[in-house]
Assembly symmetry: D2
Homo-oligomer: 407 residues x 4
């Protein structure tokens, strides 16, 4: 570790230390700085005005929590080499570097070919080349090909530093205090046994709290009906744009890199070169490009549908929503839409349905607790838990959105 002493203010954790010069150089790389302009929660800020924090800050927070975990594990005599230590910090820092504008909302709309984690990997490899292989171990951990699997679990498990930071941070910035978790207690309880991340037995209630706080954040924030409604509008808009991009005038497309990407995206056969161009273009984008496009479309007389959808998003013309609609209601609404004064082309966009499944807990990613005799059990088998409660615990959500009138 070098002599630099770079600290970054964080309202959640006080101060985040930057471990060394190399990590500082990764933070300063334009590919990472770009995350300053991508909000963590996309359209949730439309309902929770405080929730405007960025992927940039979240990534720093994940790195901070990773460092706490590593220090705690070392304190418990788990050996972690200097290379592993730095590499784990790097994975934490860069795990979301592949996110594009409006994060999850547009994840499959802008560049269908890749999941954001593949794009993160892409960036890591770019940076690895630039830095003569110093990210080799970080990449191995991220790809889960590193031989000590617990490092991967730290960044990608049921209770990992990524989730810990985002639940905590999203709760903090949205003001939904009931979604807060005790990251510090969870981390005091963390351990490794047989290359498996686990938590000391007396942390069992903290684990339960983690999953119920997660439920609150999903049902109240991420899947808030208004947020979902706006996201659906945006996804609809981008799907429409993709399908009709050839009808847009060249002069308009040339104004918007987002549209250029969509037009490439339509190509049936994608050569490696084209893919390369698309990825390059993708990493030029951030939230401002999408918002700039939506504002421009909202007065774009050339296309009434794109214009209508953009206006809805821009001016927060929120559709009314019905939870768990039945068939009769659905039919009534379809017929009841007052369309006389409306452009008939818009009609299909006045009713939107969306179904989502929320999983409280995923059995494929068990969370283990460790007793003093070093035995491990899935936490749901502890006698303060009710095992059945955690079985197949799925909450289906179904919404019907409709625009009652157009002004």
């Amino acid at each position: 570790m070098t002599q630099i002493r770079k600290i970054i203010n964080d309202p959640l954790y006080g101060f985040i230390d930057v471990y060394n010069d190399f990590i500082l150089s990764l933070i300063n790389d334009p590919l990472f700085q770009r995350l300053r302009h991508i909000q963590q929660l996309s359209l949730s800020a439309m309902v929770y005005p405080g929730a405007v924090h960025t992927r940039f800050h979240h990534s720093l927070g994940v790195m901070y929590l990773m460092q706490l975990c590593l220090d705690e594990l070392r304190r418990k005599s788990i050996e972690i080499s200097e290379l592993e230590y730095e590499s784990a910090l790097i994975v934490a820092l860069l795990h979301d570097v592949g996110h594009g504008p409006y994060s999850h909302t547009l994840e499959h709309s802008l560049i269908k070919e890749f999941h954001h984690e593949e794009l993160s990997l892409y960036v890591m490899k770019q940076l690895n080349e630039k830095h003569q292989g110093r990210l080799d171990t970080a990449i191995a951990i991220f790809e889960n090909s590193y031989h000590r699997k617990f490092f991967y679990q730290l960044i990608s498990g049921a209770i990992d530093v990524d989730r810990m930071d985002y639940l905590n941070r999203d709760s903090f910035y949205s003001g939904v205090v009931e979604g807060s978790i005790s990251v510090h207690r969870l981390i005091k309880m963390i351990h490794v046994s047989n290359d498996q991340i686990c938590f000391e037995e007396k942390g069992v209630l903290s684990i339960e709290n983690f999953f119920f706080s997660r439920k609150i954040m999903y049902l109240q924030v991420y899947l808030h009906k208004t947020v979902v409604g706006l996201e659906e509008l945006m996804i609809l808009l981008f799907s429409y744009l993709t399908n009709h991009i050839e009808t847009f005038p060249e002069s308009f497309i040339s104004k918007h890199k987002v549209l250029q990407l969509l037009s490439y995206s339509n190509n049936k056969e994608k050569t490696p070169d084209l893919i390369q161009t698309m990825i390059h273009l993708f990493f030029e984008l951030d939230d401002s490009d999408v918002w700039y496009l939506i504002k421009d479309l909202s007065s774009f007389e050339h296309d009434s549908i794109a214009c209508y959808l953009s206006q809805c998003i821009r001016n927060r013309k929120i559709y009314k929503s019905i939870k768990n609609p039945n068939e009769a209601l659905r039919k009534e609404l379809y017929e009841g839409l007052n369309l006389s004064e409306t452009d008939p082309k818009i009609k299909p966009y006045l009713l939107i349905e969306k179904s989502i499944l929320f999983h409280l807990y995923d059995h494929k990613q068990p969370t283990f607790i460790k007793f003093k005799d070093n035995s491990l059990i899935p936490f749901e088998q502890h006698d303060l838990m009710r095992e059945k409660q955690w079985k197949n615990e799925v909450y289906p959500l179904s919404y019907l959105y409709y625009q009652p009138k157009l002004k």
Copy 2:
């Protein structure tokens, strides 16, 4: 007050109640929603990554604090009519509605003719027309023509709800906890005497704390040397763009509303119609337009100066800074700049000087404390204060920024 019950989460205050339907309609107006896309602290987020909160949220917070003040004053038997109550809330809500992209940084760069308060007034008048004069009293308060002056002081005094919210909110989001103030204690102490806002005597230390917290926020956040350095680069860029707008290709200008505004701005004679067009254009803009422009300029080969300055801002190529430079140092730096490999046109932009005066306390806006016998004195005359300390208390800051090398 009607039966609606609209509450908005706020990490600072818990929940903000929307007082009635009319105020809700103002919040929902596109002119106000626009503030969602204007960050409160402009480029400070480049140093404090948490400080990405918006004018939208700040405005709601100011309205909330205004409501607390009004309730407290009523509790102390100050009569406030229903019309005054609603109007004061409206003034609080709309006081910043005239802010443009990058707030104070670009305040005098985008539209020189008007201060942001004049533009706020412009919007209020627009809304007043739309709502058949319901904002008459609000406008009178904002213009300080309302006969009960204390309402104006609540929104525009040395310790007003605007400052209370922004110090508190900026401290919270930046993580600079030492800048926090106790808004709740200040408001418990608030009173009106002879139409003058004042504070009960036992609040005197809260007042002192307010001014010293303000000092911290100014010197550590708003006027942080890196923030000022980036702001100067942006002001320089916009000044350059304004002066050279005619050299930019029409196709490029037509892509960017910001540039259109700058080109209008250059017109020597401004007809009322042109002014109208400019204002209309101005209110189309938010932070995304400016950032979109900066990103576009950063690869704009047509103009090396605009391109260079944009790259610096975008990629956070921070100049080195020297505090209180002396003449010798200044000279040495000018001569020492290694310009051999650099485009000579950029040379004038490699050294920037900036001087600022920070005022701890403004004697033209005294803050009064009220004794139990109802007498008022300026707080600095209280025996727990040192009057001299508050006299002419000015802190001059002077920075020299230079770019040591160009890559």
Copy 3:
């Protein structure tokens, strides 16, 4: 409401306003001031050193939350008269005034005849007499004889202001952040329908959070194995003292009011006069009397058992504990106790067993949610809940404590 403006600092809520002069006089009454010297959590502070807050502060907090509820209900057009308003505040303030030293731990040890709520009622009646019947309505509410039942539910329901304050306050002072609840959100959701306290439907996750936070506070703080172990020692000591009080020298008894109370307590036939004397004596006591006694007993050579138990408590000689002991283990421990060097009289006190049932949710006190169509259902029937999970949800806890060695 009069012109006084008495505010009390509270780290949880900022400031607590005292509603009027009459309530201020109740707070200043020695019977209420006495609560300053009774800790809220009795021996929990032995494990959570921050949890030293008092019944006094808790009672003020309950009054504060009651005021928030009443204001919210008025905002929702539930009519509440001035008399009801004041009375509800008084009930909240005085609900715990009957608590004695070491609260729940010694509730049945010092004065078996009465539950603390009966003693609270006793004090309220005393104060009512002193104040010419001004507490009539408060007493009716507290006895649940007032015709509008929802007032009683506010202070004594599954989710009432008492529980809200103590969960929140105990969580805050103990530092067990996972036990915190959002009192402000719950109160924003509160409503009355058909004289029944209920919560708006969108508060359903806050209700779930309330019960799971309560589970954490019970299992981690109130029923923490070390806390229970110390409480059992103290109960054992007081039971021993009661049964052997006649063997103590008069001079020792006369030093300690607590012992005088225990000696009265032993009387087989209790005349009304004796009861009166006992109650009077009881209200002279606070935590300091009990601690003073324990310290005195810890060097009391006259009685080796009382001395031993007191030393254990005073010096925190914590017994080892085994959860869910089986018969074999139990037997082994009995036999294994190294008693050779120990006073044989102490032997029965070296092993303690304790079983407790924790109820997650009590079906006899359902919590209702209210839909927009005004229909009510028990919250556990909401589709975001799992009804079965809330059925018969009982957690049995069983501990065996043993003292491995005596020094």
Copy 4:
């Protein structure tokens, strides 16, 4: 460092780690456990009901902050041996172990011969003997005889871990948020230069904030006029008891260890044996002994003065107070006291005067800042400070308390 992992919840800092088994054994020593029953702020809780935290918790907090400082200094390449590290933690833990009941209030009333720091040293030496010299270095640091002086400054300087914890903790528990400081930022700035504790230059505003927060805590909490008034009553009572102890019946004195100590205290000639007995007795005492005595005295008909003063304290019969009284007012009050119905012996106790000097900053203990070139200057010479402001900055407080009527 051993394998134990003992963590203690702290609402301020989250969790406090106990460094090793030896420190755990010190915490478990009855001499340290005794601090659980001594409140940090003595009678301040009478005004700030949340401020009931203990010397026990404060001592743990100081140890925690010491650990943060040591880790930060090691990070900055200041060499600290394992022995120094442990010893510094021990000094922090035990620095207040000599405090008696009601801390500072009764510091000079119970045992005049020693300052609390001498008594802390006494306990350290006791423990050192018990532990075969393991506290040698800790004692050297505490006595400031250790050759590396900066360790002493860490625990006893103008900005030391003791003050940092108590300002922060007292602010937190009292709810006087304006008194909070950023311990974390101060500690990030800490450094050692030439064996002198100093702070990096960019911490200068944190230092200013520290001293102004301290001013708030002193003037608003520690020296709050009601707190001072109650303390004066208590000091008066103890002075009276000391002077009249021989008039109290032996049976009463034998009930109260505090009175036994006072009677020893009266002895003109104190043999080493007597001193030893007194110290031993002193360490038997905690707040409960004093409160138990005050309650007993409040119904002690034998002595009307002791009885009167005790009632005032117990029942919070607060005297009225006048700030900066002038001679005329003083005379008027003396003459105006309605004493006709009062026991004439009480007359001298109905008027109390108290003058205090509060020092904002002590020039004999300068606080240094360190520039990047390693030069040190007193912080008040920094250009963001006003040197004059810190010169001779003394605030005299003068109160006259009087009891207007006796019931």
